[in-house]
Amino acid sequence: MASEAWGRATETELIREAQKGSRTAFEALVRQYDQPVLRLALRLTGSEQDAQDIHQEAFLKAYRYLANFRFECSFYTWIYRIVTNLCLDHLRRRKSRLEEQSVVVDSSGGEMDLLSNISDERAMANPERELERKLLGERIQEALGRLTPRERMVFELKHYQGLRLRTIGEMLNTTEETAKNTLFRATRKLRTTLATLR
C-alpha cells in the first residue's frame, strides 16, 4: 500500500514536471507505459509496423496534450484512452478496406512465426503439439478478426490485459454496462466462429 502511494506520488511529480516542459520527465513516463502500449497495439493490428506507428502517435499526442491532463483520472487510463482510440481507428479503417488479417506481419512485411515469440520453455519439446498450437493461434486470429473493432478492443483489454470492465468503459468513453454487453457479444461470436472453423 505504502509503495503504491509512493508510486502514485512519484508519477504525479513526473507528470507535473513534464507539463512544465521537462523532456526527461516525459520520457520517464513513457518508459512506464510504452511496453504495454506497444503490446496492445501489436496484438490488435497484427503488424509490427502499424504497432510502432500507433506507439509513436499515441505518445506524441500525449506530449502535445499533456497540459490538458487535469488528474481527473489516472494517467494510465488517460494514455490508454489515447491508444485505444488510435487502435479503434486502425481497426475501422482496415474493416472498411475489407482487409482480413489472420496472419501477423513483422516490420519488413513478412509473415511472423508466432512460435518465435513464445516464452514457453517447452516450445520446442513437442513439435507436433506446437504445430497444433500454431494452427489454433491462426484460427483464433481469424475469429478475432471477425469481431467488430469495439468487440475486439473490449475482449483484448479484458481477456489479455485483465482490466476491469469499469476501467475499460472509462477508457472507451462508455459505461461499464455497455462494456459488459460488448464482452458478452464478443465471447458469443468467438465461440461460434471457432466452432465453424474446426
Binding site: Q52, N85, T187
Partner: protein, 316 residues
C-alpha cells in the same frame, strides 16, 4: 434467475466480473440447468483455447526501435518555449478561475488597481521633458538596440555599438514571396495589433482562395493567430483560413480542436465545431465533442456537439 439472464451473466462470471450476490444466484441456477451448464463449459473451453494459443509479445528489438523512433519524433517537435508554457498555464488558470468566482472577483479588483497605478506612473513620466538626443545619433530611423559597450581604460571615452531601425516600403502581389514573408512577420507583430490583424486577414484570404497555402509557414501563422491572438475577429479569420485543411492536415485539426476546447469566445468555438463536422469520424474529434457536449458553458455549443455525435456512425 432464468435461463435468458443466466446466459448473459455466464461470460461475466467466467471473467470474475459478476457481483457476489449474482454469482450466488447463477451458481444455484447452474446446478439445475443443463443448457446453461453447457454454455458455461463452452465459455471455459474458449478461455482454455485462448490460453493454449501463442500470444504476441513485442520483442526487445521492436521496443527499442519504437523508443528510438519516438525520440527522433520528439526531437523534431517544436520545443514549448517559456512563452508557450506561460500561456498554457494562463489558459489552465483561466479555466480554473471559471470555477472560483470569489478568486475571480479578487483578481478583477487587483487588476483594476494595478491598471490604475500603472496609469498614474505613466502620467507622471509623460510630464518629464524628453531627453534630447545628441546630434551625432540623430539620423534616419530609430535606435533598435544597443549590442555592446566598451570603455577605454582610464578615460571617460566609451564605444557603443547599436542598431538602427530604418523604415522601408515595398509593394507587390499577395502571391509574391517577399510580400508573403513580410505578411508572416506582420502576423506576429505585438507592437501594432492592427498590422497583425491585417496580415492574418490577408493570409487567411489567400488560403481560403486556395492560393499557395500548401507550405507550412502560412498555416503555422494562422494556427498561432488562432491560438494566441487576443482579438476575436482575428482568431475567427484565422479559423476560416484553415478551413480547407482541416480534413487533410492533422496539425490544423488539432489546432481547431484546441480552439473548440479552450477559446474564451463562443463564436469562435461555434465556428470550430462547424469546421470539424466533415471529420466527425476521427476519434480525437469525437473525444473532444464528448467533452464539449457536457462541459461547455454555452448551451448552443453543447446542443450542436450532441447533434453531431448523434449523427456519427453508430458506436459498435
Amino acid at each position: 434467475m432464468d435461463c435468458e439472464l443466466a446466459q448473459q451473466k455466464i461470460a461475466l462470471f467466467a471473467y470474475g466480473e459478476l457481483p457476489d450476490d449474482q454469482c450466488h444466484l447463477l451458481e444455484g441456477h447452474l446446478t439445475t440447468c443443463k443448457r446453461c451448464q453447457e454454455e458455461f463449459a463452452a465459455v471455459q473451453a474458449l478461455q482454455q483455447a485462448m490460453a493454449l494459443a501463442p500470444t504476441l509479445e513485442p520483442s526487445a528489438n521492436l521496443l527499442a526501435q519504437a523508443r528510438l523512433r519516438l525520440e527522433e519524433a520528439l526531437d523534431t517537435m517544436p520545443r514549448s518555449g517559456w512563452l508557450m508554457r506561460v500561456q498554457q498555464s494562463m489558459f489552465r488558470g483561466v479555466s480554473m478561475l471559471g470555477r472560483a468566482p470569489v478568486a475571480a472577483s479578487a483578481l478583477l479588483v487587483l487588476g483594476l488597481a494595478s491598471g490604475g497605478w500603472a496609469g498614474y506612473l505613466s502620467a507622471l513620466r509623460s510630464h518629464r521633458p524628453p531627453a534630447e538626443l545628441p546630434a551625432a545619433i540623430a539620423g534616419p530611423g530609430t535606435i533598435a538596440n544597443v549590442t555592446s559597450i566598451v570603455r577605454e581604460p582610464n578615460t571617460e571615452n566609451v564605444e557603443v555599438h547599436f542598431n538602427r531601425l530604418v523604415p522601408e516600403t515595398t509593394q507587390g502581389s499577395l502571391d509574391d514571396a517577399q510580400i508573403r514573408q513580410l505578411l508572416l512577420v506582420g502576423a506576429q507583430s505585438q507592437v501594432n495589433p492592427g498590422v497583425a490583424q491585417n496580415s492574418v486577414s490577408l493570409l487567411a484570404g489567400e488560403c481560403e482562395a486556395g492560393h499557395q497555402c500548401a507550405d507550412g509557414p502560412v498555416r503555422n501563422a494562422l494556427l498561432v493567430a488562432l491560438r494566441y491572438d487576443k482579438n476575436t475577429g482575428v482568431r475567427l479569420r484565422a479559423l476560416n483560413g484553415l478551413k480547407p485543411y482541416v480534413a487533410e492536415d492533422m496539425r490544423v485539426r488539432d489546432g481547431v480542436l484546441e480552439a473548440l476546447m479552450n477559446d474564451e469566445d463562443a463564436t469562435v468555438r461555434s465556428r470550430a465545431i462547424e469546421l470539424l463536422q466533415p471529420v466527425e469520424a476521427d476519434s480525437s474529434v469525437r473525444e473532444v465533442l464528448h467533452t464539449v457536449a457536457s462541459e461547455d458553458d454555452n448551451p448552443h455549443i453543447r446542443t450542436v456537439s450532441h447533434e453531431i455525435l448523434d449523427q456519427s456512425p453508430q458506436i459498435q
